[in-house]
């Protein structure tokens, strides 16, 4: 069963909901501009992004005086794009993919490797071919380094990437055996990169290379297919495996529908995925225009980055200086989400895992700093309750009646409603 499309024209709450999920949130004017549209048009327009970026990005990772500062600047540049960029859905998808095809700056410490990886996530954000996307990620210096396939040689296999390709990137646990992991590693021998190795060479270009003499050319059996399989075959067989459709669709549902996805709806997307041979754009267009999408309200706990970016976009993208933006990347980190550095290759679990005493305290502090603090950006017109909470009459409305606009905005920002999407 594919997903049922929404037939009504978007109401104000529908529009606010759509923008919370696809644009981190929005101003009242942006919400009004969507009211009355049909859901398919809204989804199609949001997905029609190109690769243009926000002008005036103050962060240039090439200026980093060492790998550490370079990585800080990379994070700052991404946050700038998340907050001020013209295509928030592209960035939301890039963030989602960075939590799927995970790499981490604990190991990936080269400016080109990181930029190349982020560029891939943006270009393939709504990819027409998940298989192509997977192949390009598998051959990116960032992934080759992060999961050690650059060390995977004939006679000396390293299974790290081969395992995670199946367990985390394509089929998920279930349809493969330990033997498949080993055979996949053999087929992926010889895939490595050249250039940009070592702390000193963090600014040097690096690129994928295939070293024939390090490749194990023998016969292998992988996911039920036998032959003299090569790395490309492994990636294709994993990425196009029938179970991949549901496994990756479930992640899209987690990003856009609910922390605890509805399995029937996931299977609907998986069917579209299989019918279109892994056309993520088609899956997303159907998903973001579906009844299921519009019926699923307040079921995603915003991640730290979504919380920060959501607050700033709802406040109308106030201009913050570079230092303040860098501080915000660190604040998001203390709340549990360092951009490009999930705790491990599984990525952030998200949902209720974002919430504990410490992260709640930080959310309260951040909301105060953005609205009431001495350095809070000026608030010319307070966002409406709808823009802040997604609801025209939120439960917290009564509590804000006697407050000034800054205080009311603060209280909304720390309400459960704002923290959900």
């Amino acid at each position: 069963m594919t997903l049922t499309p929404l037939t009504r024209k978007l109401t104000a709450e529908d529009a606010a909901h759509f923008l919370r999920r696809t644009a981190f949130g929005a101003t009242d004017a942006q919400i009004r501009a969507l009211v009355g549209k049909d859901a398919r048009t809204a989804a199609r327009e949001a997905l029609a992004f190109d690769q243009t970026t926000a002008p005036g990005n103050p962060f240039d990772p090439m200026q980093g005086a060492g790998p550490g500062p370079m990585i800080q600047l990379t994070r700052g540049a991404w946050l700038f794009e998340l907050v001020y960029g013209p295509h928030p859905l592209r960035e939301k998808l890039a963030l989602t993919w960075s939590n799927h095809f995970v790499v981490g700056t604990d190991k990936v410490r080269n400016v080109h490797a990181l930029a190349g990886y982020l560029g891939l996530l943006r270009r393939h954000a709504a990819t027409a071919s998940f298989e192509r996307f997977t192949l390009e990620v598998a051959q990116s210096p960032a992934m080759l380094r992060y999961l050690d396939n650059d060390q995977n040689r004939r006679g000396k296999p390293n299974e790290n990437f081969s395992r995670e390709l199946l367990e985390l990137f394509t089929t998920g646990i279930g349809p493969y055996s330990e033997e498949d992991v080993r055979e996949g590693a053999r087929a992926l021998t010889g895939w490595t990169f050249e250039g940009g190795r070592g702390n000193q060479n963090y600014l040097e270009p690096s690129r994928f290379v295939f070293l024939e003499r390090q490749h194990d050319p023998g016969r292998k059996t992988y996911l039920g297919h036998s032959g003299e399989l090569r790395g490309e075959d492994i990636v294709r067989l994993a990425a196009t495996h029938p179970r991949t459709a549901a496994f990756v669709s479930r992640k899209l549902h987690r990003a856009f529908l609910a922390d605890t996805p509805d399995e029937a709806a996931v299977q609907g997307s998986a069917e579209t995925w299989r019918r279109t041979n892994g056309n993520v754009r088609a899956v997303l267009e159907e998903l973001l225009a579906s009844e299921a999408f519009y019926a699923s309200r307040a079921r995603i706990i915003r991640s730290p980055v979504e919380y920060v970016v959501g607050a700033l976009r709802t406040l109308g993208q106030p201009k913050l200086d570079a230092k303040a933006l860098l501080n915000l990347t660190q604040t998001a980190g203390r709340m549990g989400q360092v951009l490009l550095q999930p705790e491990n290759v599984k990525g952030w679990d998200g949902g209720r895992e974002w919430i504990n005493d410490t992260t709640l305290l930080l959310r309260l502090q951040l909301a105060a700093a953005l609205t009431l603090g001495g350095k809070a950006p000026p608030l010319t017109a307070a966002p409406s309750a709808l823009a802040l909470t997604g609801l025209e009459r939120p439960p917290s409305a009564a509590a804000t009646l006697k407050l000034n606009p800054q205080q009311a905005t603060y209280l909304h920002l720390i309400s459960p409603e704002f923290q959900l999407a």
């Binding site: 296999p157 330990e178 307040a298 705790e343 491990n344 410490t358 459960p416």
Partner: protein, 390 residues
């Protein structure tokens, strides 16, 4: 459930805490839960047990690891066959005084080489992977106090997941307090009081719990003065906060600290050496601190990792995911020594050691022997372990 009035009382308490208000809440909780504390150390990523507790008299060990084995001359000798990795030297004092235990060859049936599946098994104490609650979460529900166990760090591990409530994560004790902007206490209470369901109700509940927990910690934490010099770094800082919470006597029975980075697929020596150094210097300072506070007899530390690594090194001077590893414990309450027998490195299963000791037996000793709880109910079965407590 707190109501608005409770909230106002709690914020008054939090405000008064700094001026020396008696911690009656804390004392009541401590009485309810006993005075012993278990500190769990998680080594994330799969710590290589063979290079931690080194079988230095075993030729098969050196044959399997031509480049990354710990040379015999570097090993810190414990027994005629076993010794510690040289980076663990700060723990030698504890070993020599009989306060450090190693549990050999620990694992579980049908081992899983996925980090996440295996970690979930250690967290839930359920190799069938049917449970989603953690063993410490279940322990907390048994005690009935959502503050009797805490994680020290930003993200709460699954081990502390409970079905009825969420156990706190305390990133730093210093910042673990609620400071609402002037004049907004009432509005904040009204906002929380509004009726909600689903995830919104979860967030309301989590916020109320946070208000209780922070008040409880701040009521007592100011008393602590560190009794030892801790090394730099996050792990040591988290251990210092652990000592601080214990010294504050806020009634926590289990505290949980993690050290990550043990997934040493390549260039293992440099990485693991540094991590074990961090582990050992942090734990040595922690123990010294507790001794000076007069609290050492009430605390034991138990450490684990989700799996060990393959016996043979790989082609990248590292090791891939394996099965079975060592656990350790330290403290005055520990029966020092090596518990259990070493794995046979010439009789392997798929390149891995064959475990002999189920980790749930090691947990059971901590639960029943140290915390005085019914291990059978928490672990859903009878598990026998080595008697690693004195």
């Amino acid at each position: 459930m707190t109501n608005r009035r409770d909230f106002l009382k709690l914020s008054a308490l939090a405000a008064a805490a700094t001026t020396g208000m008696p911690g009656f809440l804390a004392r009541a909780a401590a009485q309810a839960g006993g005075s012993k504390t278990l500190v769990v150390i998680q080594l994330t990523g799969g710590n290589d047990g063979l290079n931690t507790l080194v079988p230095y008299s075993n030729g098969a060990y050196y044959a399997a690891r031509p480049t990354i084995a710990i040379p015999r001359k570097d090993v810190l000798t414990l027994t005629p066959d076993l010794g510690m990795h040289p980076a663990l030297r700060p723990l030698m004092g504890l070993w020599d005084s009989g306060r450090m235990a190693w549990m050999e060859n620990v694992g579980y049936p049908n081992p899983n080489r996925s980090h996440f599946a295996s970690m979930a098994i250690w967290h839930t104490a359920d190799p069938s992977q049917a449970q989603s609650d953690g063993w410490i979460g279940r322990l907390a529900e048994k005690i009935g106090d959502p503050f009797c166990a805490s994680n020290i760090g930003a993200a709460t591990p699954q081990a502390l997941r409970a079905s009825e409530f969420s156990l706190p994560s305390i990133d730093t004790v210093e910042n673990f307090q609620l400071k609402l902007p002037q004049g907004l206490g009432g509005a904040f209470g009204d906002m929380l009081d509004a009726a909600r369901s689903g995830e919104a109700a979860f967030l309301t509940q989590a916020t109320r719990q946070m208000m209780k927990n922070t008040a409880r910690v701040q009521a007592n934490a100011q008393k602590y003065r560190s009794g030892a010099t801790y090394p730099d770094g996050k792990f040591a800082a988290q251990l210092r906060d652990t000592a601080r919470l214990i010294a504050a006597g806020v009634g926590q029975r289990v505290l949980y600290v993690s050290l990550g980075g043990f997934d040493t697929h390549a260039g293992q020596r440099a990485e693991q050496d540094e991590l074990l150094g961090t582990l050992a210097s942090g734990l040595a300072a922690f123990h010294a601190d507790l001794e000076r506070q007069g609290l050492a007899e009430n605390v034991v530390v138990m450490g684990f990792s989700e799996f060990g690594r393959r016996v043979a090194e790989n082609g990248s001077a590292g090791t891939d995911h394996g099965k079975g590893s060592v656990m350790f414990a330290l403290g005055q309450g520990v029966r020092g020594g090596i518990h259990g027998s070493s794995p046979d490195l010439e009789d392997l299963s798929d390149g891995d050691i064959k475990y002999r000791q189920d980790f749930r037996g090691v947990y059971a000793e901590a639960l029943s022997g140290w915390l005085g709880l019914n291990a059978r109910e928490i672990l859903n079965g009878d598990f026998r372990g080595p008697g690693w407590l004195a």
